[in-house]
Each structure stands twice: as structure tokens, then as C-alpha cells.
Amino acid sequence: MAVTKFLYRTSINHRIVDFCHHLRNNGIMTSPIDAAHCLNVLRVINANEHHEVRLAFKSIFVSNKDGFNRFDELFDSFWFNERKQRHEHEAIENTGPKTVTNKNAPSIFEINGSGKSDNIDLPDNDNDKEANTSGKGRLIAAKTINTMTTDMREFIQAEDESKASEIARRIASAIRYKLSRRRKLSNRGNTLDMRRIMRKSIATDGEPLKLLRKRKPETPMHLVGLIDVSGSMQPYARVFLSFIKGLIGNDLRTDAFLFHTKLMCVSDALRDNNTLRAANRLSMMARGFGGGTKIGTCLNNFNKQFIGRILGRKSLVIIMSDGYDTDDTAILDSSLKHLKKSGCKLIWLNPLLGWKDYKPVNSSIITALPYLDLFAPCNTLQSLLVLENELRSL
């Protein structure tokens, strides 16, 4: 990667602005006001002493721990461009409101796609050729032929769909609302709202005739479903897709993602009322369906691209996977940690749990367990139905 060269002498203002751009290109968000602050600060420190300038700029530009650890390298690569190269980095995507509204084009968020800057920190280099994921005694994926394109019509059937959507509706209503800690005005509340009583009583000579109440309002939860559609999960994909379609059909505060070695957002496709068209749109996205799994990488991508937009404290992430993973568990660990830190509730539904003597002993599941709020079976629609009560108590 090219280093910054000062070809000609520019003013300090220009250089600071250039430095801002350099930081921005490297994933540290800066604003013009920061640049102005820098110029202000240069007046009160010894600007000839690069150590001081470094400390000062660090405090101004950095706004999180990750940036804090990386800043020194970025500073060096910009200001001391003689010997140092810019370090490998990931440009953070602008996670603004990106709603896909184009009805004609299928909405495919192909993440980790053509091997640009996304896959830098991932140790596994076999980009997207997921067929060769046989190693280390995995259970199923080894024997499955990688169907590059699958028509998903066969995975969604009419009778399943109505049942699944009914279950999904019940589950959604069980977890839909979470009590807020704040209190709002309400007719049936259990606490008196003194502020409003006071206001009203002025009109009646200070006699509080009307007692107004307040209660904690129920705020809607945002549901996010992540479905593993790799080879080992193929037998269950139908159940899951029907379920998630039922969940999505219920309202707009739901998102669905499919993952195998890549992650894709299928919310819009599933929301399509025309079942045939939805299936067609899905089948266009189904490249790599039934191949290997990279749970950690996919979650990592999910964190990077979607977390800022769709997650908050009032969200619930449902991962449906058997946990057979070709990724390093360290990636899974850090991704789950990050996900959990965003404040969401995390549920892992594992079809293998429905087996008679299944024990969660594989490394991905063991890594994931500490972060989960619920770990439950989901091999049939019936087992999903049983979840209703457990989810309610979360």
C-alpha cells in the first residue's frame, strides 16, 4: 500500500486535513471540527516535539479502544513516511441507513465477497471456495456435494409455511415486547404522575381531582434471525426458512440473514408477498447453499456491517446452527463477545439438541455457550413451539 508523500510544501492546515482523511480511510472517524481542535491545540503544546503532538492528536481523534491501540501506527505512517508502511487495515463501511428498496434487483448484501478489504483479518485464505471443508472429522459437510445454486422452492412448502408462520407469530408475540425502565403517562399505570397531577390541579384551585398515572411502557424488540444454510444444516433448512419467513411476515422490525461461508440479508426477499417471486429471489441468492460453514467470520461480518444499524439494547438475535464450523473458534469468540456487548439477547437454536444423546462438545458450541441467553433445540416445528414459554421468561 502506498505511503503518503509530501511532494511539495503545504500549509499545516492542509496537512492536518490530509491527516484527517488518512485516519478516515483507515477506519477512524474524524470530523472537520476535530481538525479545528488540532490547530487550536498546537498552540498550547510544543509543536516541534512529535511525541507531544502524537499524544495530543491521539486524544482528539480517537474515540474508542480499537482506535486507541491503532493510532500510533497510523500517526507514524502519515508523518514519518520514510521507512514505514501503512499497516493492513479494514476500512469501516459507513453504516448509515441503507435500505434496499429496489424491487427489481434482488437485494443481495454480498459480504466478504470479492476478497477486497473485508477478509484481511481472517486467517482462512481459501476465499469463497467452501467445498473443501472436509477436515478435522466434521460430521456431515464432508460428504455433501456443494450445490452451487439451489432452487429454494423445494425448501418452502405450503403446508409447512402456514404452520411455521403460526408458530413464528406466537413466538414473536412472546418476545416482542420488553418493559422499559422509564415511566410514561398511562390510564392504567400503577404510579401517580405527580408532574401532571400538579398541572391539572391548578385549574381546580390546587385540588388534585384527577389522578393521572404512569407506567412502564412496553417497547418493541427488534428480532434478527441468522440461519446456517451450510451442508450439514440442509435437512433442517426448510423448517428454519419457514419459521423465519413467518417471523418476518409479522412485522417490519425483523431481519433475516442466511449464512454459510458468506452472509446475506434476505429480509426483503422473504417479505415479498408473492411466494413464487420470493422463492426465485432467494434462489438467486443461494450460491454456496449447502457448502461449508464459517460461523465466526459471518458473525464478524454481521457485526461490522449491520450491528450499528439494527441492534440496540432492545434486540434479540436468534442464531440457528448446528455449530459445525470450519473457522477458528477465536474468531467466533471475539464476534460473539462483540455482539453481546452491543446489548442484545442472544439465542442459539441447535437442531442437534433434539437428538437423543447429543452433548454440546464441539469447540464452537463450547465457545459460544457463555454468551448465550438461551440454548435450545429446534429440529422440528414442534420443538420451536415449546420454546414459546422459555422465550417469554427471557
Binding site: 481542535h37 491545540v41 486524544s59 486507541f68 422509564r182 390546587g206
Partner: protein, 291 residues
């Protein structure tokens, strides 16, 4: 005062700040911007704010955050009981309604909470917003107005602007990700666990009478304890507590009395499982390593 002076002044008040922290504090003071201190529990984030208030000899106004914190607890609330009584009393004497309203919505019926109090001081105070990550996103959004404009709007009275700009210190343990909007408005510093030399300096500042040999032992022991697999790593406050405990027990060498050492570990390890995971053998190994 440049940043080295600030570092020295802090040190005179028994707070050893590393260069990055001193510079960040200096810039925050210079630009009159809030500073966000992030780091593990017990690395001295809150203490930094306390020391600043001692250093500038101003009041420390502290707002402890918790989930569900709202404006009534953080900014202001009307004193409803007094208002009701006042209306009753006025009605009996036959006062004009307009007068009553003006009176009961005057400043004397307003109960100031930390944020409102902080912007109304004659001398700029230090406003410590502690553990901001415990409050919810709504409160965070709420803070943005105060942190950028230093003004508070009360519908009945109007907008109250700051008489002096408080020095705002926010602390966070990183249990939840804070919003970018909040981060962007703050000068940021990540406070790590101090290195060996800094921590010894902290100890000797607080307990000058502890021998350098013991100080060295204590800090080395605590630092190696932090490398063990613990649920809750001992912070600086725990280290200082332990020092006080050892001094109280009259121990001059931590290797001399294994029983007492083990018993005193309650000052450092704060969960049952942590206490179990450091049995006598491990504590002896660490003590011998530190000696």
C-alpha cells in the same frame, strides 16, 4: 499550565497519570470539552475526576448512572408536594391564579439534580458522570444537548444557560458500546492497568511509610495475579486496600507468613470462584515470584 505541569500537579495530589492521560486531560481543559475515560474497573477513572476537583479546588458533582436513569433524577424535578401545599394555602387567602402559577413554577420550587446544578455554579465544578455505559441509550441522547451546548431547557421557566462550563468527566467500563455521537463529542482516553513502576509510585504516594521492598513485592504480586484467569481482576483500589491490610497485620515480607497472606487475599479477590482459583500453592508461587 502545560500538560507536564498538569501531570506533576496531579502527582502532587497523589494521582499518577500516564502521559496519554495527562495530555488528554490538558486538551479537554483547553478545549472545554468533556473527556471520556474508558478502562477496566479499578484503574482510577473516577479518581481522576476527584483529583481534578481537588487540584482546581472546586466542587465535584457526581452523577452515578444506572439503567432507567431519567431527567427527573439527572436534571431537575419540581417539588410537587410543596407546590400542592402552596396552592392550597394561596387559594384560602384568595390570591390571583396567575400569581400562584408564577410562584409555584419559580426557581425556589425547583429541585436541582446534578446536571442542572453543575451548570449553575459560580466556579466551574468538575462534573463526574460515572459509568455512563450503565445508563440506557435514551439518556445518552439526552446528554448530547447538555454536553455540546451546556444549556438545559425547562418548559415552565425557559432555557437555562451555563454560568460556567463545568469540566465534564465521563467514565465507562465498556459493558456496553456507547453511541458514536457521544464519543465524537468527547476527548477520549483508554486507561490501562498501570505498569510496574507507575503502580509502585502510586502505592508509595498513598502509603509513604511502606518500605520499598514491600511495595515492590505487593505490586509485583498484584500484577502477576492480574495475569491469572480471574473473573474480576484486582484494580488499583484493591491493591491499596491490600497494602493497608498487610500494614495492619504487621507483615513486612509477603513470603514470611503464607497463612496470613492467603487470608488477606480477600482484599484482592472479590468472588468466591476467584478465591477458589487461587489456592495457597498458587499464592505462594506468585509471592515467591514477586519476592
Amino acid at each position: 499550565m502545560n500538560w507536564q505541569d498538569l501531570q506533576n500537579k496531579l502527582s502532587e495530589h497523589a494521582y499518577i497519570a500516564n502521559q496519554e492521560l495527562a495530555m488528554a486531560l490538558k486538551i479537554a481543559l483547553q478545549l472545554e470539552r468533556p473527556i471520556l475515560l474508558e478502562g477496566e474497573a479499578g484503574v482510577g477513572k473516577t479518581q481522576a475526576a476527584k483529583t481534578l476537583s481537588e487540584l482546581f479546588d472546586t466542587e465535584l458533582i457526581r452523577l452515578q448512572c444506572y439503567e432507567g436513569l431519567d431527567s427527573a433524577a439527572a436534571i431537575y424535578e419540581w417539588n410537587y408536594q410543596r407546590q400542592l401545599l402552596s396552592i392550597r394555602a394561596s387559594v384560602d387567602t384568595g390570591s390571583d391564579l396567575k400569581d400562584i402559577e408564577n410562584r409555584i413554577f419559580s426557581r425556589s420550587y425547583l429541585m436541582e439534580r446534578p446536571l442542572l446544578r453543575a451548570i449553575q455554579q459560580q466556579k466551574a465544578p468538575v462534573l463526574l458522570i460515572d459509568e455512563i455505559d450503565r445508563a440506557d441509550e435514551e439518556f445518552e441522547a439526552f446528554l448530547l444537548e447538555i454536553l455540546s451546548d451546556f444549556q438545559i431547557t425547562i418548559p415552565e421557566i425557559g432555557t437555562i444557560s451555563a454560568t460556567t462550563k463545568p469540566m465534564v468527566v465521563l467514565t465507562s467500563n465498556g459493558t456496553r458500546n456507547l453511541s458514536d455521537a457521544l464519543r465524537r463529542r468527547c476527548i477520549y482516553n483508554y486507561v490501562p492497568y498501570p505498569d510496574l513502576r507507575t503502580e509502585i509510585a502510586i502505592l508509595t504516594k498513598r502509603y509513604p511509610r511502606v518500605s520499598s521492598h514491600l511495595a515492590n513485592q505487593i505490586v509485583s504480586f498484584v500484577q502477576s495475579l492480574r495475569k491469572e484467569d480471574l473473573e474480576k481482576k484486582p484494580g488499583i483500589a484493591e491493591m491499596l486496600d491490600w497494602t493497608a491490610a498487610l500494614s495492619g497485620l504487621g507483615i513486612n515480607d509477603i513470603t514470611s507468613d503464607p497463612e496470613a497472606l492467603q487470608a488477606s487475599l480477600v482484599c484482592l479477590l472479590k468472588t468466591q470462584s476467584d478465591l477458589y482459583s487461587i489456592p495457597k500453592e498458587v499464592s505462594q508461587r506468585l509471592a515467591n515470584g514477586a519476592a
